[in-house]
Amino acid sequence: MIPTQSQSFSMLLVAIAPFLAAFVAPTVKRFLPNHAGWVLALIPTSIFLYLLSFVDLIAQGEKIQFALPWIPNLGIQLSFYLDGLSLVFGLLISGIGAFIVIYSGGYLNGHYHLGRFYAFILMFMGSMLGLVMSDNIITLFVFWELTSITSFLLIGFDHSRQASRRAAIQALVVTGGGGLLLLAGLLLMAFTMRTLDISTMLQQPGFMSEQPTYLLVFILVLFGAATKSAQVPFHFWLPNAMEAPTPVSAYLHSATMVKAGVYLLARMSPILGGTVEWQVTLPILGGITLITGALLALRQTDMKQMLAYTTMASLGMLVMLIGNGSKEGILAAMLFLVAHSFYKGGLFMVVGSIDHETGTRDITQVSGIWKSLPVTFFGAALAAASMAGLPVALGFFAKEEIYLIAKGMEWQHWLLAVTALVGNALMMAAGAAIAIRPFLGVRIATPKTPHEAPLSMLVGPAILAVLGVVVGLFIHQFGDWFFSPSASAIYNHKVSNHLGLHFDPIPLGLSVVTWIVGGIVLWKLDRIRDLLQALARVWTWGPDKGFDQAMFGLVRFADWITRLFHHGRLEQYLILVFVALGVAIYTPMVLNGSLPDVPNVLPQLRFQEWGVLLIAVLGLFAVVFGRTRLVAIVSLGIQGFAVALIFLLLGAPDLGFTQFMVETLSVVILALVMTKLHLDQRDNRVFEEVIRDGGLALICGIGLTTLLLAVLRTDLDTTLTDFFIQTSVPIAHGRNIVNVILVDYRALDTLGEISVVMTAGIAILALIRLRAGGPKRGIGAIKRAAGQRAKRAASKARSAS
């Protein structure tokens, strides 16, 4: 469906509004220091309600598309596309986003930079909404990178701590690096498919997999998705990202941003999926991530870390399911994705509340606080129930749908189901531990005496937890609205909605096994944790350390390169420059065999031209044999003046004119540099150096001469010259063609050049000041000096009177 103009505008607003809100967020916070969160949450809430109005339309299989031109020359549009998949993501992002904004107000209440925090969160929300609604792959990539950047800002929010800064940079390097590979993959795909629009690509499923570029595109896109969605071995940034304030962890690093990779794979599934590569690589990658994440989760005592690793495991599960690519797999992925966002977002907020209220989030240090935090406990219990997949919670249906894959009865289906079972059981144990250990049992002393969290910190976990059950209760209806349309969008064919409370023996049997295994793990959790920690002490190397080593190596490498080329010896620089010049001149001429013959007749020159030439030669000799450097510099000027005279004589007054000025200024500045650098009066090069430098100069000089001769030998193409001569006066109103070219025809070049001139001026100024020992003079210094003079004068006047 193509929406009307006003509808297009409001669609655009969905992606833009959070950015606008981010802009005013600090101001809102200033005027309403305690309630800004509630006000700002209106933005995501209205986006949520707006998107909700499309549910019916989308459920009927409609797709909504609209585009605004952005860079029309390159075919890049700000185009948006709303189908079942983007709608579910959009609703999750805006809905959970609203709770997160409210929650942040309570969690960071009184924090000096709360306004900035709101701004970052809202910017992230806009980027994420833009990402899932993008139709154009360039737009998609821009929003993709924006989520990485906002994530960087949010992880490093507490930037005074070294751990935060490291985690922020690590996340940026990993996800940003993956983003670059993704860009390459997307562009390659776009060139292969001859379109930049995903919606057009979706109309030719299976086309890409027959192309020779397929494998490369697949690998590059997979890198993008795997880094963003924390798949092994790129998972290490995610647990470190827990340095961010808890609302960020709940929102970015569990409910939304890390799912961007999953979204990408889901979106690309009809285009890139269905191949052997896809169906083998993704389930293996996802399966390994699932098991690794789940095991690592049990090793932790920090509840946030436990959740982080189970998030990683869940992402592995999603990748595995999308890789499976069957109807059940896709539907299971969507169910699991929504269920996970609900319970994991909620559990993160619960852990944040526990941390906020007791002062610790170590699972062994908190116990029996349910009486103090009853509502929080309620949220935690329901969320954990959904995570464990207990009946009627949404998580239950997700799990049943996953186990339906086992009905395929082939070994790979069973392998997938068993992997999912082990992962589910371990995750269930981790989730249940967080819901039970801190709340039940004997009360032990905590750093702070716990009270129930404020209202703003209860709304999110409580409603998300309730939602997890409500959606489960009315699963068929929600299936019609959300799960079937979104799964259809991934599957590219209608996925009928068979969701409901009917018990199939195989899935139910596997569920029961899951609960039993999960229960045993929960019961023996402390033993298992000790075991895993003992293992961790033996096996100390991991990708996290590898990252540090790689970064360190990069710095060392950069240092080495810098030392190699930036050694500070001027003559070496010059030798390098002239050797490069010689290579650049001779190589093409020798390779093309276009070395010109030496002309064997003297040119016919007039008397005055011979005179000027003589001056130039005299100047040259003076340069080479000058006794002092100053003489050499001035002689260079003589030589330059002679050249300028030649220009004048040959009818290029502009060139001659400019040459005169350049020569004059060069002599002045060279002489000044000489005095400034305190160079010796005389050139004290030893014989070997004279030979070396002189030889180099001769080679380059002869090279330039040959080059000019070679140029003269070819016929001059006068197309451009004719064009300029003919059009200079009529369309550019100028008779001086050189000037017209500079300021009109090639003005963009000139603009670039003058920017370079200005920058060079600044750089030279800085260098000279550096030498003079610090920034003593300058705009500020002049003003300061003037101020001091005025003060002195005033005090003098006072003392005189």
């Binding site: 001086n736 500079l742 001139v757 200005m758 600044i762 300058g778 002049i782």
Partner: protein, 141 residues
């Protein structure tokens, strides 16, 4: 080098060169000249004044730090380019305004002229920044 003759003549020479540089700048569209060469002449004028009268004196006369002129020039050139946005033509497209002066002659104002003036300021600013910084002694005199 710093003789009394040079010191006496330098201010007049500088003034003359600055006026000449503006002349060269403005005639540049039709006759030999232009912003680049004009800027070079003006920069030499400033360098000469600096040698004769001392750098602090030049800095006082210029009011602003010379690099500011360069920045101003780039800004001006960019603005000249952006003018095209108001009449919906591509960036840097030349726009012309011919004002009839009544006596049969007309005054041509244009964005290329504005652009050229920008070039003039950049060259003037950058070169005189370098020259003045080099002329200065370590203690700023």
């Amino acid at each position: 080098m710093n003789t009394i003759i040079f010191r006496t003549i330098a201010p007049y020479l500088t003034a003359l060169m600055v006026v000449f540089s503006i002349f060269v700048l403005l005639r540049g569209h039709n006759e030999p000249g232009g912003g680049f060469i004009g800027g070079l002449i003006a920069a030499s004028a400033i360098a000469i004044y600096g040698i004769s009268a001392g750098v602090s004196e030049v800095r006082r006369a210029l009011v602003f730090h010379p690099i500011t002129f360069a920045g101003f020039g780039v800004l001006m050139a960019a603005i000249a380019g952006l003018m095209s946005a108001f009449v919906d033509v591509p960036f840097l497209m030349g726009l012309w305004l011919f004002i009839d002066l009544g006596d049969g002659s007309e005054l041509a104002l244009s964005t290329p002229m504005l652009f050229d003036i920008g070039v003039y300021f950049v060259v003037l600013g950058a070169i005189s920044t370098i020259a003045l910084a080099l002329e200065e002694d370590e203690d700023g005199k």
